[in-house]
């Protein structure tokens, strides 16, 4: 009952005319960002954070706006998967497998409606899951001390590269790079300067927003110039939009299974939405693919991964809110948002600032309802926006990034730093080094060091304190296991060959 009372309080905080207006704007923007190839949840939310500050929103309002954008991206990604066979963002990749064949059979409208409803089911149910699970996890995490937190951070870094990267050395390097960069600036406890090269601009350290926008948004410009914006052109028309009740009934089971799997994948550290949709699709295929209809436009192949990726988005909020350790790129960006708002996620957040947590959760429910309305009856509008060509989109992204970062500090130095991160991001992506661990390292590096130093002070310099509690030992074992397991699992869990993104115009 406590939970319901808290939730009620959350709605009280989050429902005002202005926040509802922000939620609608956020959902609209988010769906567009998710749908446009090249802009996904992580870079979309990242470039909007500085602008949310420029608007002088308070913490709740900023959270409502940006969680709406985040959830909106999860809904929007499917639109270009279905219509263009190009996933609008990474988690929407699996939706191309059956969504695009459906569109080619002239059932694009049906596919969009089914996936929209599946998205709603996935994220709505997982938000309920969040309400149930988060307080429990928070009460466990309340007992965490330095040893547990240090081990937890190790777990996050060890698993973040995880199944999605191909080379463990490279994802571990990415984490080291992030940690190394987080050390730049004044040391908190001794005020020694570290790695600043005497540059005054670096005394405050590297602003993680600068790094995020550089790595995620500016690097995209180089990718687009390299590919000459090949991925555009809208070939497929959305026919009549009607609600295919029969299909919805038939895909209900797929949606529920996808939701369950996605939610679990979301909670796991380092897994995130891509793994959620992947697992949901593969499981559904092995259960339901009796007549070999998967990959040829089976509605269940659209419903399962969409429910999975949206459920994972909700699940991924749990470790981020209760432990302060994000499980995916986008939740890392959300963590960056919370930290800039001076909100430190962790178990204390639930007791110290319940209005923030429950306001955020309430805003997730609001965003979901708004998104269902936007994405089913109004989907045509987004289809129109999808035809924005890259030669227009990328300059716009660049300019918004520049102005956003410029508005943070008003110095050209941050802009240069952002460009350097952009170049770095391009090189890392070319070399198949994941960029999310870099962000996580920059975000968590100082705290990780703090926990280590605090623990060593308490234990009087005895390093064995790291393994001094059962929880810490379990976390260490999971960290080692999570780092080693993909080496073996990769052979078993081969990703299915996602068809090369062939342009729709080649097809007709």
């Amino acid at each position: 009952m406590d939970t319901l009372a808290n939730l009620w309080m959350g709605f009280g905080v989050a429902v005002t005319p202005y926040t509802l207006f922000l939620a609608i704007c956020g959902c609209f923007l988010g769906t567009i960002i998710g749908a446009l190839p090249g802009l996904g949840p992580s870079n979309g939310v990242a470039i909007l954070i500085p602008l949310a500050f420029a608007l002088k929103l308070d913490a709740i309002e900023a959270l409502v706006l940006l969680t709406s954008v985040y959830y909106g991206c999860m809904y929007g990604g499917r639109i270009s998967s279905i219509l263009l066979n190009i996933p609008g963002d990474e988690p929407a990749m699996m939706t191309t497998l059956d969504g695009f064949p459906m569109a080619k059979q002239g059932r694009a409208g049906d596919a969009l409606v089914i996936s929209g409803v599946a998205s709603f089911m996935g994220s709505f149910l997982s938000t309920i899951g969040l309400v149930v699970v988060a307080p429990i996890l928070a009460s466990v995490a309340y007992r965490f001390g330095p040893a547990e937190y240090f081990a937890l951070y190790m777990l996050a870094f060890a698993t973040l590269g995880g199944l999605t990267s191909n080379n463990q050395a490279k994802s571990a390097f990415a984490a080291c790079l992030g940690l190394a960069l987080s050390m730049v600036g004044l040391d908190n406890s001794t005020s020694a300067t570290r790695f600043t090269g005497g540059n005054l601009h670096l005394y405050d350290g590297i602003d993680f927003l600068v790094a995020i926008v550089g790595l995620f948004a500016i690097s995209e410009i180089f990718i687009f110039i390299e590919s000459h914006g090949r991925s555009s052109a809208l070939g497929i028309k959305v026919g009549k939009l009607s609600v295919p009740w029969g299909d919805l009934k038939r895909t209900f089971g797929a949606m529920m299974r996808g939701t369950g799997l996605g939610f679990i994948a979301g909670i796991l550290p380092g897994a995130g939405a891509s793994l959620g949709s992947f697992m949901a699709y593969m499981a559904e295929k092995s259960i339901s693919n009796r007549k070999d209809t998967f990959g040829k436009g089976d509605p269940r192949g659209v419903a399962a991964p969409e429910a999975g990726n949206n459920a994972a988005a909700g699940g991924a909020m749990i470790p981020m809110l209760t432990l302060g350790v994000p499980g995916s790129g986008t939740t890392a960006v959300m963590l960056a948002l919370l930290l800039t708002l001076n909100i430190t996620p962790g178990p204390r957040l639930f007791t110290d600032q319940p209005q923030v947590v429950w306001g955020l959760i309430a805003s997730l429910f609001i965003a979901n309802v708004v998104l269902l309305v936007m994405n089913v009856p109004m989907v045509r509008l987004f289809v129109k926006i999808l035809s924005v060509p890259p030669w227009f989109l990328m300059p716009m992204v660049t300019m918004v990034s520049f102005v956003g970062i410029f508005s943070l500090s008003g110095s050209y130095f941050d802009l240069l730093l952002m460009i350097i991160f952009g170049v770095l991001g391009y090189i890392l992506r070319k070399l198949d080094v994941p960029t999310v661990p870099v962000i996580l390292g920059i975000l968590l590096g100082n705290q990780m060091e703090d926990w280590l130093r605090r623990g060593l002070t308490i234990s009087d310099g005895d390093w064995m304190f790291l393994f001094s509690s059962p929880i810490a030992v379990v976390l260490w074992i999971l960290a080692v296991g999570g780092f080693v397991a993909p080496l073996f699992l990769r052979k078993v869990l081969k990703r299915p060959a996602v068809p090369e993104t062939d342009l729709p115009m080649d097809k007709d």
Partner: protein, 146 residues
């Protein structure tokens, strides 16, 4: 193969340099047993191991772009750097129009379309940022604004 060998070597050298940098950190008052040097050194050591790992087990060669794409990306980089330096002294409108047009042109080389897009985007974004978000942007060079 080759790219990863070079990359691994760069990582190893950077880790060593980072270690040396950590060595030189001046610890003022020691408040805790670890001090400000140890954690960066640990990171450098971990990075060194990763670098050796990349060096010894390189991935397949990535698909690097051709000379023309490199040139395009180089120009884009120069444009972005110039834009970062010019936004304060030259105001928002002119540098934004030029930079947008240049990036648009690099993605799809059609001159007229890019120029129109640059001018339009710069004007629209100025209105949004200035009046929608209330950012204090100077539209034109300070000298012209009096």
């Amino acid at each position: 193969m080759k790219s990863d060998r070079i990359f691994g070597l760069v990582v190893v050298l950077s880790a060593l340099a980072y270690f040396a940098g950590a060595w030189q950190i001046q610890a003022g008052m020691m408040m805790d047993p670890l001090g400000p040097r140890a954690f960066p050194m640990l990171i450098a050591a971990a990075g060194l191991i990763c670098g050796i790992g990349i060096l010894l087990r390189p991935d397949a060669e990535p698909e690097w772009p051709g000379a023309q794409a490199w040139l395009g990306m180089g120009i884009a980089l120069a444009v972005l750097v110039a834009y970062a330096y010019s936004i304060v002294p030259l105001g928002f409108l002119v540098p934004t129009a030029i930079a947008s047009a240049a990036i648009g042109y690099l993605i799809e080389p059609k001159a007229k379309q890019s120029i129109l897009m640059g001018i339009g985007l710069s004007a629209v974004l100025y209105v949004i940022f200035k009046y929608g978000l209330g950012l204090g942007l100077l539209p034109l060079p300070r000298a012209l604004m009096g």
